[in-house]
């Protein structure tokens, strides 16, 4: 069954859209990430214009993260105070990201920046995660009791000026690294069409030492708020949010996420992190190859002016 996408100005199969939304939603439920880093490249590969894909996926990420954020909120797993700081600086970063998006698109270098951005970010985060997960698995095989990280281990970042107390995270740290993380993720997220959950979680854990019980919830709450703001920014600035496309992806995504979350209960934490790391690295390698391998077609075309 074909459905016409009024902003992308082409028609696509409804079941295909719900299907890829569901498949990516399953993975995002399994690993607790938004899934934008998989969905955006998939849509572009299926023929959706890149600006429409990036802008519409932001809407889908909001939906995919909402149910998770709500259930964490009911369990008290969100540090709202910390999330507020991250969201405010994130929205500021998103303004920069959306502006950079428009400039790069007109200069014809958007594809390059998206490829390099994905390669560097995913490669870096994927390597870190895989390394950490393998160590945890090896330790467990040897029977070593994995020591829980102490929440009050502070590093130099926390001693910067402007310290703020985050009660729920049991942290009394400088607000500067928090704002920089928010700004960076806001910028990168709106530029690449990703929620940034896979950057946010390691940043909260390793840099800010946020305790495990509030990391995922806070990250999800931040993703919901920031991606909601980014959707509106994209809608206002480039008018390339396709509500039909986003809705089809949302329906598949929210359903898939529930199955993914229940499947995730059968896997241990470090196994999950290891699998996610492999997935992230695979996407990074794919973007890396697209930079160095000769393209099938060295010529490409685009419409100037306007979103499409």
């Amino acid at each position: 069954m074909q459905v016409y996408l009024p902003i992308a100005e082409l028609s696509m199969n409804l079941f295909f859209l719900i299907g890829i939304g569901g498949a990516v939603g399953f993975l995002s439920g399994l690993f607790g990430v938004g899934g934008g880093f998989l969905l955006t490249p998939l849509l572009i590969f299926s023929g959706v214009p890149a600006p429409v894909a990036v802008a519409s996926v932001t809407g889908q990420v909001v939906a995919a993260s909402t149910s998770g954020a709500l259930s964490h909120y009911r369990r008290g797993g969100i540090d709202l105070h910390l999330a507020l700081y991250l969201v405010l600086s994130g929205i500021l970063g998103a303004f920069g990201g959306v502006a950079a998006f428009a400039i790069l698109r007109d200069a014809g270098q958007l594809d390059l920046v998206i490829s390099v951005g994905f390669l560097v970010l995913l490669g870096f985060v994927g390597t870190l995660m895989l390394n950490e997960a393998i160590r945890a698995i090896i330790k467990q095989r040897r029977g070593v009791v994995v020591r829980e990280r102490l929440p009050n281990q502070h590093n130099w970042m926390h001693r910067l000026p402007m310290r703020v107390r985050f009660k729920k995270s049991r942290l009394y740290i400088s607000v500067l690294p928090v704002l920089i993380i928010g700004l960076f993720i806001g910028f990168v997220g709106s530029l690449l069409g990703i929620g940034g959950g896979f950057i946010m979680v390691p940043a909260l854990v390793y840099l800010l030492r946020v305790p495990g019980n509030v990391v995922i919830g806070t990250s999800l709450a931040q993703v919901v708020a920031m991606m909601a703001a980014t959707t509106i920014l994209h809608a206002v600035q480039s008018q390339s949010v396709d509500i039909m496309l986003a809705f089809c992806l949302m329906v598949g995504g929210t359903a898939g996420a529930q199955f993914g979350a229940s499947a995730g209960k059968h896997l241990r934490g470090e196994q999950l992190r290891g699998l996610l790391a492999i997935l992230v690295l695979a996407v990074a390698i794919r973007f890396g190859l697209s930079l160095i391998l000769a393209p099938a077609d060295p010529f490409s075309m685009a419409v100037l002016g306007g979103a499409r």
Binding site: V3, S67, A235, P298, F299, S300
Partner: protein
């Protein structure tokens, strides 16, 4: 002076004794894009008749008919990737202003059998003719990038030449069929019909039709442009609601 008189005579003769006109019709003057839009089939009909006021009783062929369908124009850019120290980058680009977003040629025979290349180019019957415009990039780059742009548009199904797309049902009655693809951009379209005889254009006609979104699709596309803030807010509310509903429905 002699050749001048000969020319006058020829013109006078052509004006009085000979003359054909084209009576043609489109199957639909608007193509409506609805939620299940999956392309649309269009038919072009026409008959070649003696011109009004000419002394001819009937027309004599053989005739050839070329139908050119043009979509709304856009400013397009063609880009080329080159290898720089092992990395493939977009390094060169040529802009084509007012380039048609859709271009299909239907003809009753091979174009080069109908007329010569000069006529095809000056009448904008060949896709490449649209790339032969003055451009800052210089003629060589314009030609190279223009050919690539036409190839890319052809791969998207937006450009095409169908030699044999026009069928003559009798000596002077033709019909042609065109399937507009689902990615045909909305906007005003132009169907130009040329009648050729002995390599010369003897009659021509242009008809317009519109491809437009109607109903809900039109409403969505309009509100995305006219009320972008509200549209964005609705998207977010829809996303939050869908996410919440998903969580409620699947909670065990």
């Amino acid at each position: 002076m002699k050749w001048w008189l000969a020319l006058m005579l020829a013109v006078l003769l052509a004006g009085t004794a000979r003359g054909e006109r084209l009576v043609s019709q489109l199957s639909n003057d608007s193509v409506e894009i609805t939620s299940s839009f999956d392309g649309e089939r269009m038919n072009f009909f026409g008959t070649i008749m003696p011109d009004a006021g000419s002394e001819q009783q009937f027309v004599t062929g053989p005739f050839h008919v070329v139908v050119v369908v043009l979509g709304p124009t856009q400013n397009r850019v063609a880009r080329q990737m080159t290898n720089n120290f092992g990395v493939w980058l977009n390094t060169d680009q040529v802009e084509f202003d007012n380039f048609p977003s859709y271009f299909q040629v239907l003809s009753s025979a091979r174009l080069r059998d109908i007329t010569d290349i000069t006529t095809l180019t000056t009448e904008y019957i060949l896709p490449e003719a649209h790339t032969l415009v003055a451009n800052d990039a210089g003629w060589w780059k314009t030609a190279v990038f223009g050919r690539e742009l036409v190839r890319l548009m052809t791969e998207q199904g937006l450009f095409g030449v169908n030699e044999g797309g026009v069928n003559f049902l009798s000596e002077n009655f033709y019909s042609a069929r065109l399937t507009l693809p689902s990615n045909a951009p909305p906007g005003p379209y132009l169907a130009l019909t040329y009648v050729f005889k002995d390599g010369q254009v003897i009659a021509r006609k242009s008809e317009g039709f519109a491809v437009r979104k109607i109903g809900f699709e039109r409403f969505l596309a309009m509100s995305a442009v006219q009320q972008p803030l509200l549209y964005g807010l609705v998207c977010v509310v829809l996303a939050l609601f869908t996410g919440w509903l998903g969580g409620v429905l699947f909670k065990r």
